[in-house]
Symmetry: C2
């Protein structure tokens, strides 16, 4: 983009800073009687209000200052979706410190890396997570104080540990809230890529403020809503749902830890508290559907369930609509994008020219781009793909809540992740004439053959629809002439056999001849990762010399 | 507020500029098929889409460049709520010029002042307004070109005039959109105070962008809505309604000129086009109610009618609710505040503890403050008044869409209008324990007696409820001991007579003894302004020596 030029001066208060400190104080001021319903890690529910709880936020902020952390310092936080976690969302940025989210699902070595890379000097941790982090404590470099979130004293071996409740009981409410610049970092998250170390994204007050405005807009959230973030608050700040609720003054339900054990309890809260906005991944919403049904719930009209992480099955979207009149809203984003970019909300002009069936199948798309986000979808040589809903390209993004770099990454490493000021998402998508995208692959799962792309995931999905096939995996292997060519592994159903002709005939329904696998192999088992996904790295390395 | 301090650097794209150019391009990109329905000054309706119309915006932008205006220049615009007016909203800021709204209701001398103060070098004007502006043309100082909006050639005496339609027909679409800084002015409005010359407020791209996000939030506007701005687009940009619609991709209905003659036509559009969001003043919505009723309209569920300018009568709010299930949303603001500050939307916590009657009477309040706006309500010596719903003070405001100065005003004159970075609204209000304000007076209508304030408007309203009284006017007159003391003029109903005791008995229902008028006088007629408001300036000057 061209460099910024200045026009005629405005008379407005353009130096007014958009900060989290302003947001919480103004929300408490205007919506003080709004309720917060919360569940702690012992499973006990409680109730408070924005106003009543604010005293704890102000004390926590002052307590951190007393611990010697303040403007610009990083404070690590590891907790479930609790009331104390909510308090820390505000208390830490209030003093200009950086709320550094520690993802408790990370491998220990990665967690250690995040703590040390962020140079957190204080770490705040829920009592249930102390056993997991204790073994790492002595290898953390800069941590001076551990702060334990608990209902009382607990047994532990953490050095220099204090109890949060004692800290805030001893503190006076913060007397002076600093006027932080909106471009300062207020929180940090680390991406959890499957390769390499986690990469730090430092969100600014401004980026989060604008992201919240955008989500309020795209989900039409208002003071009439009741917001329950199910997505963990250590996953991209639960997609900003807490900030969204506070911005409009909506009642907030903080359900604590989400797990198979707590599912029933949290589902009760969904209906009893009248939740109208929530978020989660298909792996959460799928079992939740069964629980809601088994409880005899009939109507959840008005409920919007923002669903991301991976593609929700159309059958699940339809089931929620048909059974409860609830809307599963399909969205897409990443840690680097705060995270919400596209949201799938049908607009009247589209609805008017589609059949009911088309409308329903459209739910599998990730949605369209909001104002304030620029994008390009480009092929392997950087040309924009046509908006035909078929040609796939990598999604590139620019906007005020998109990252411009990674924490501490040298510029030569950054060069590969950004192009012309756009962040490279690594996600491959088509875009249709209505501006709706459909994510087809991760870039690394696309097979680049002769300058063209072949979707390994589309091919796998088609192949498993063959009556003889139980499982299919497709990878690109290095090829001297075409860069890469597809290779397919198949697990067949018991007693079945398959020929090359049968495979080709099946795949030619949707693929061109040149896209068909160069070779295939029937195996007993496909290499998988610890969470059951196809491990393409292993397959590629096992067969790396096949075409060379 | 404390000066800005910088925390830890973020990694985000914090230099991404929030501009009107970005907004329109991204909206066209994402909601290109959204309709715009429009009415020209001949009464002819037309239809287009965001996408189809965009070519005209790009041509208009390039055409202005060809006229020699660009970055930082001011372009005056005088038009009804037309499609061309909409195009100018975007084409002018696209090239970094300032859309300078010319309020066609201004007195000719004031209009001339605005043109010269803004140093507009091009003025764009609708054909119907040419006769009014022609006599001023030779006294405008910097205007090089007049651009006429019309359906064809017209007769006129404007020097250096060109036709807009010819200009854009001859232009190529703008090739390069400059990357304007968000703190540059994108539009200018002039306040229409009753005293002194109009004062210029220059809105920044940033202030308007954030104001639009705020309105989308407060009215929960979405792509499902149909927005029809009735408030003239030359009155504080029709309160930002066009930007709001475009931000969410909502269908836009531009009703042209609103008048007694067009009321029926525009009311038809309201129902036929399925309008769900509109705006106006009580003087518009009151006759509109009768028209809707006479047409046999039964149901306008979902319609939000943002009402400002002056206080909508509770009876009107109730009538819209009871007859059509439409919501008159009471709001408050000023030219200096972009303009929306408070909006009266009942929140669930309040509704739960009020009776239906209380809820209804609450509609007469102006609402509560949104996040992103700081306020103080202060008495005559600068102390904040208690939130008791009774004690009145002047409303002071701070926020990203509040003005920080007036165009070209010397700092000694500004000192009186700002205090500690807050803009002094000149409006006097109470605030209750729920954060809802009630505007009681303009500061100049408050009587300052012995350091305390007396509401002249409350006293007038109470006095006219006396069975013998037809009209009442209360002003403060200079007093050697108490600074000011109240004085009352009364017009009685035919054949009636009133005593001092009767007046006091009536006023003591709500006023303290010290607040009662020092003297009163029965007259045949109360001095009034040209628009029928009580002319307090005249009363004060007629009786200025009464107490001295």
């Amino acid at each position: 983009m061209a460099s910024v030029v200045h026009g005629y001066p405005s008379t407005m208060q353009d130096d007014y800073q958009l900060t989290m400190g302003q947001l919480i104080r103004q929300a408490v001021r205007s919506f003080g009687d709004t309720e917060i319903v919360h569940r702690n890690s012992h499973g006990t529910w409680g109730r408070t209000t924005y106003q009543e709880n604010f005293d704890r936020i102000e004390r926590a902020a002052a307590a951190f200052n007393k611990l010697g952390v303040g403007l610009g310092d990083r404070i690590g936080v590891m907790d479930w979706n609790s009331l104390r976690h909510y308090e820390l969302y505000w208390a830490i940025p209030a003093i200009g410190a950086v709320f550094t989210q520690l993802n408790l699902r990370l491998a220990p070595e990665d967690l250690l890396y995040v703590i040390n890379d962020s140079q957190a000097s204080v770490i705040v941790i829920d009592e249930t997570l102390v056993p997991a982090i204790q073994p790492l404590a002595e290898r953390t470099k800069g941590v001076k104080t551990w702060v334990i979130l608990s209902e009382g004293e607990i047994e532990h071996d953490l050095p220099n540990a204090v109890y949060y409740e004692e800290l805030i009981a001893d503190a006076e409410p913060l007397a002076d809230w600093p006027n932080i610049s909106e471009t300062s970092a207020f929180a940090a998250g680390y991406t959890t890529g499957t390769t390499g170390r986690p990469k730090g994204v430092f969100y600014s007050h401004r980026s989060q403020y604008l992201h919240a405005y955008n989500t309020v807009k795209d989900l039409a959230v208002s003071v009439e809503d009741v917001v329950m973030p199910i997505t963990p608050m250590f996953h991209v700040l639960s997609w900003g749902m807490v900030q969204v609720a506070v911005m409009v003054g909506a009642k907030l339900v903080l359900p604590g830890m989400f797990s198979a054990e707590t599912l029933g309890d949290i589902t009760d809260a969904l209906t009893d508290e009248g939740v109208t906005v929530t978020n989660g991944v298909p792996a959460i919403f799928t079992p939740m559907f069964e629980v809601l049904k088994s409880k005899g719930v009939k109507d959840l009209t008005g409920l919007r369930m923002l669903c991301g992480g991976s593609e929700p099955p159309i059958s699940m979207i339809n089931a929620y609509r048909d059974t409860f009149n609830a809307e599963v809203v399909h969205g897409w984003g990443a840690s680097e994008t705060s995270p919400i970019v596209t949201v799938n909300r049908m607009r009247p002009t589209l609805r008017a020219r589609m059949t009911e069936e088309e409308i329903r199948s459209y739910g599998s798309k990730q949605g369209s781009f909001p104002v304030n986000v620029d994008y390009k979808i480009v092929d392997g040589v950087g040309n924009q793909v046509p908006a035909d809903g078929e040609t796939a390209g990598e999604v590139l993004l620019k906007g005020p809540w998109i990252t411009a770099s990674y924490h501490g990454m040298p510029s030569e490493a950054l060069a590969d992740r950004f192009v012309d000021g756009y962040w490279r998402s690594g996600d491959v998508a088509t875009i249709d004439e209505n501006g709706f995208i459909k994510i087809t692959d991760r870039l690394k799962d696309v097979i680049k053959s002769g300058g063209e792309w072949i979707s390994s995931i589309d091919m796998e999905n088609l192949m498993v629809s063959h009556p003889k096939v139980a499982q299919a995996a497709v990878v690109g292997l290095e090829h001297p002439k075409w860069d890469e060519r597809p290779f397919m592994l198949l697990v067949l159903k018991d007693g079945e056999d398959i020929t090359r002709e049968e495979i080709d005939e099946h795949l030619l329904q949707r693929f061109a001849k040149w896209q068909l696998p160069e070779e295939f192999k029937v195996v007993d088992e496909i290499p998988a990762t610890s969470v059951g996904k196809i491990d393409k790295k292993v397959i590629r390395s096992q067969y790396q010399d096949l075409y060379t």
